[in-house]
């Protein structure tokens, strides 16, 4: 059993409500933090080595230290609860089952950053979770942890939940701020960064739900202790949402010292591939990160076991590695079609492109149409190179990273599964009848445990 910091109490009866949460040590970090200076809190977060859990993995303490503090200008903390990256459903779990953990993290973080109005921007589809969060906020207010002059410190803070309208792009932090201002979710050109010019042009920090929840154990145990969990620059624990063709889909808190093989096959986590099938491929960090075939998932190109942490998942770069991303672990068994799956993701990115930059707007549509043709038996061999070319022209040429996020899955699918694309083109009729299967791909290693 790995160490649990966020989900230690998720099975406690009534933990969704203040009373049980408080009885189990809840809100202790607020009491502790309010006796510290703001700079000391930021220091603890720096020492913890916590990296943003929204996908980019940027060091949280460093981000906080960039926040501009001009006199007389309000500063804002905004919690990113837009969670729309395919394969990712961890923030939902935290908010739905232990809402007070997020609220507690938000109070400490708001205090550290000097935010008197803090917003949780939640994807509009999580409508029932809005009610859960608002209830938790009300309970925190009634118990003196939110509102005016919290715990007699003179610090005022209110937390508001803002419901989005259904748009993946609003997870991108500047699009989120636009949306929170009541506009279309068009990402802004950076710089200026939100730390200088964010919500209503004021200095703003945007952090993911899980990042802000992790502030609670960091303050409780101290940054140094937190940093001892994990390995290297992958400190602390990480929530992984596992889905696809596995026996036990769900949310797992891991300390980042376990191997991918253990995560995938042991009964404590995914419990192996469903229906006795074999592993074909996996997208280990949400739909935007490169897909890996079975052999490269379990071992790096150097032949070392691949571990569930930021560095190891990225080992080999895009040639043979992937990324931790948002922690959305998507498993494909031997019956899955890579072309069809890639087509589905291309459709997603085309649908979600805000349309501001032509490489992204046009390129995602082009990729979707080419993949559709290949999938439905109308593809040409040259389409595969064309697809490669289109994704190359999107990557790095857009305002926000959605362009890259759309390009990478396509690139990785062609890089590792080109033979399957070619088979689709050469055998259009057969490809309608059956799947390519494992065919030429390396088999997974002998199953552990």
């Amino acid at each position: 059993m790995g160490k649990k910091l966020l989900l230690a109490n998720d099975q406690v009866e009534g933990i969704r409500f203040f009373e049980a949460y408080r009885k189990n040590g809840g809100y202790a970090s607020v009491e502790k933090a309010f006796k510290m200076t703001q700079a000391d809190i930021v220091d603890e977060v720096k020492k913890s080595g916590l990296r943003g859990r929204g996908g980019a993995g940027f060091p949280t303490g460093l981000k906080w230290s960039f926040l501009a503090k001009p006199e007389g200008v309000p500063r804002y903390l905004v919690c990113n609860a837009d969670e729309s990256e395919p394969g990712t459903f961890k923030d939902r779990y935290l908010m739905e089952y232990i809402p007070h953990l997020l609220i507690e993290g938000l109070i400490v973080s708001s205090f550290a950053l000097g935010s008197n109005r803090t917003y949780i921007y939640i994807r509009g589809e999580y409508a029932w979770i809005v009610d859960i969060l608002e209830h938790a906020i009300t309970e925190a207010e009634q118990n003196g942890f939110l509102g005016d002059n919290i715990l007699g410190t003179g610090f005022n803070c209110r937390i508001y939940v803002q419901r989005g309208g259904g748009a993946y792009i609003c997870g991108e932090e500047t699009a989120l701020l636009e949306s929170l201002e009541g506009k279309r979710g068009n990402p802004r050109i950076k710089p200026p960064f939100p730390a200088v010019k964010g919500l209503w042009d004021c200095p703003t920090v945007v952090n993911n739900v899980e990042t802000l929840a992790a502030i609670v154990p960091i303050i409780n145990m101290g940054g140094d202790e937190y940093a001892k969990i994990g390995v290297g620059k992958s400190t602390g624990t990480k929530l992984i949402s596992a889905c696809g063709n596995i026996n036990k889909p769900g949310i797992y808190e891991i300390d980042m010292t376990i191997s991918v093989e253990e995560f995938l096959y042991s009964d404590e986590y995914c419990g192996g591939i469903a229906n006795g099938k074999r592993l074909k491929a996996c997208i280990p960090g949400g739909s935007s990160v490169p897909i890996l075939p079975a052999n490269l998932l379990l071992t790096t190109a150097k032949g070392e076991p691949r571990m569930m942490n930021y560095e190891s998942l990225a080992d080999g770069g895009f040639a043979s590695g992937s990324m931790m991303g948002s922690g959305g672990f998507i498993v494909l068994d031997e019956d899955q079609c890579i072309v069809r799956h890639t087509m589905s993701l291309a459709r997603f990115y085309h649908h979600e492109s805000c349309g501001q930059c032509s490489p992204c707007r046009e390129g995602t549509g082009w990729m979707k149409r080419i993949l559709h043709n290949i999938e439905y038996g109308k593809g040409k061999m040259s389409d595969i190179d064309l697809l490669w070319d289109v994704q190359r022209k999107i990557e790095g040429n857009t305002i926000c990273p959605l362009g890259d996020a759309a390009a990478w899955p396509v690139a990785a699918a062609i890089r590792h599964f080109r033979d399957e694309f070619e088979w689709h083109v050469s055998n259009p009729e057969e490809a309608q009848q059956r799947n390519y299967g494992l065919a030429g791909y390396a088999e997974p290693r002998a199953v552990l445990v």
């Binding site: 309000p74 969670e83 729309s84 990256e85 395919p86 394969g87 990712t88 459903f89 923030d91 939902r92 109005r117 917003y119 994807r123 509009g124 589809e125 999580y126 409508a127 029932w128 508001y160 803002q162 419901r163 989005g164 309208g165 259904g166 748009a167 993946y168 949306s179 929170l180 201002e181 009541g182 506009k183 279309r184 979710g185 209503w200 949402s241 596992a242 889905c243 696809g244 063709n245 889909p249 769900g250 949310i251 739909s287 959305g328 998507i330 498993v331 494909l332 068994d333 899955q336 069809r340 799956h341 589905s344 993701l345 459709r347 997603f348 649908h351 979600e352 805000c354």
Partner: protein
Amino acid sequence: MALQFSEKKREEVASIIKRYPDGKQKSALLPVLHLAQEEFGGWLDVPVMDYVAEILNITPIEVYEVATFYSMYNMKPVGKYLFEVCQTGPCMLNGSDDIIEYIKTKLGIKIGETTSDGMFTLKAVECLGACGYAPMMQLGKTYREHLNPEKVDGIIEQCRTISATNN
């Protein structure tokens, strides 16, 4: 004319506007559009959007451009029950294609259509953050997960019963 929120909804709008600093009431647009859609028949007709513009003191175009950007706002009428089935990769791995086909056959409609009695609309949507509980759909404010044909039948029955008792 005479479009107006109920007393209760007007209070809600007022409290939403208070979440933001003075003069930033435009921020209330997305939440208020959700309220308007709930109140005025499940979609946003032009007079509804104009009414929202008026109460937030912004121009109608500011409302249109937002309403058309986000997928949750319906720009045309929908059935009483909107089935929004996720079709993205992770759900596809667990049979969302089959569930969508099943609903199409069962209700006799294509994606984007409404049954002739105005009861059901079927939409195929992108990842809803329930990938581990696939296949799934959104129905009103809730998610229906681990779908299979029997569950879909049950949901349709349930909707019909609720609708019949409410009439």
